[in-house]
Symmetry: C2
Subunit: 140 residues, 2 copies
C-alpha cells in the first residue's frame, strides 16, 4: 500500500538499506567530528572512512545535492538541519545496537565492529526489542 512492490522482497530491502548507509555514515561522522574538533574537513572523513579524499569529495557533493550537507570549495563540511536530524537518528540507533551487543556479552571490539554493519539493517521492531533487553539487563 505504501511501499513499492519490490520493497516486499527482503533482498530488495537490503539493497535499499545499503543505498542509505553511506549518507548515514557520512552524516554521523561529520556530526561527531564537528562536535569534537569544531570543524570537519574532507581529509578527516577520508581518514575515518578509510578511503581516498577523492571518494569523499564525490560523496560530499552528492550529499550536498540531497540537502544533508553544506560546503564550499576548499572549505570545511557542515550539516544542514536535515543532516543534523539524520545524524541524531543514526547516532541513537547506533548507540542502541552497540549497547545491546555489549549487554549480550559481546566483547567491546567485536561489538563496535559489528554494530557498524548491523545498525543499518535493524528495523524498528528489532530496535525496540533491543532497547527493552538493555533495560532489563541494566535493571537487574
Amino acid at each position: 500500500m505504501s511501499e513499492p512492490v519490490k520493497r516486499n522482497n527482503p533482498f530488495a530491502k537490503v539493497r535499499a538499506d545499503h543505498a542509505a548507509e553511506t549518507a548515514e555514515d557520512y552524516v554521523e561522522a561529520v556530526s561527531d567530528m564537528v562536535h569534537r574538533t569544531g570543524e570537519c574537513r574532507v581529509r578527516d572523513l577520508a581518514k575515518i572512512m578509510g578511503v581516498s579524499h577523492v571518494t569523499v569529495t564525490r560523496i560530499v557533493t552528492r550529499l550536498q545535492e540531497q540537502g544533508l550537507i553544506e560546503t564550499e570549495p576548499y572549505r570545511p563540511v557542515r550539516l544542514t538541519s536535515s543532516g543534523e536530524k539524520l545524524a541524531a537518528n543514526s547516532r541513537q540507533r547506533h548507540e542502541i545496537v552497540l549497547q545491546f551487543l555489549l549487554a549480550l556479552g559481546v566483547p567491546q571490539d567485536d561489538a563496535e565492529r559489528d554494530t557498524e554493519g548491523i545498525e543499518h539493517h535493524v528495523g524498528q521492531a528489532t530496535l525496540d526489542r533491543m532497547a527493552a533487553f538493555i533495560r532489563e539487563r541494566s535493571g537487574d
Copy 2:
C-alpha cells in the same frame, strides 16, 4: 599481521562484507532451490532476489569464475563443492541470527527481513553469544 591495514577500519570491514554478501546470498538461494525443486534456473534466482535475469546471469558468471557455481549456457545452475560448503555456512549463520531475533521477541516478518541484512555483518563472537542466548531461552 594477517589482514591488510584497511581491514582495521570498521567501515572498510563493512565494505568487504558487502562484497561477500552477493556470493553468499546467491549460493544459499541456489542450494535452497535445488533441495526444494531439484534444480535452480536463472529465472528462479531472478524471482528470489527481486532483480532482472540479466543481473542474475552476470553474477552467476562471476560466481562460476570464483569456483562456487557450475553451469552451461541455457542450463540450470548448480553448486560446486566449495559452493555447497559456503551455502552450508551461510545457512547456519542465517538460522542462528533468525532464531536469535525470534527468541528476542521480534515478530516473524520483521525477524526474517532484518536477518537478511544482519547476517552478513555478524562476527564469530557475536554469533556465539546469539547461539548461547537461544540455548538459554529454549532451556527455560
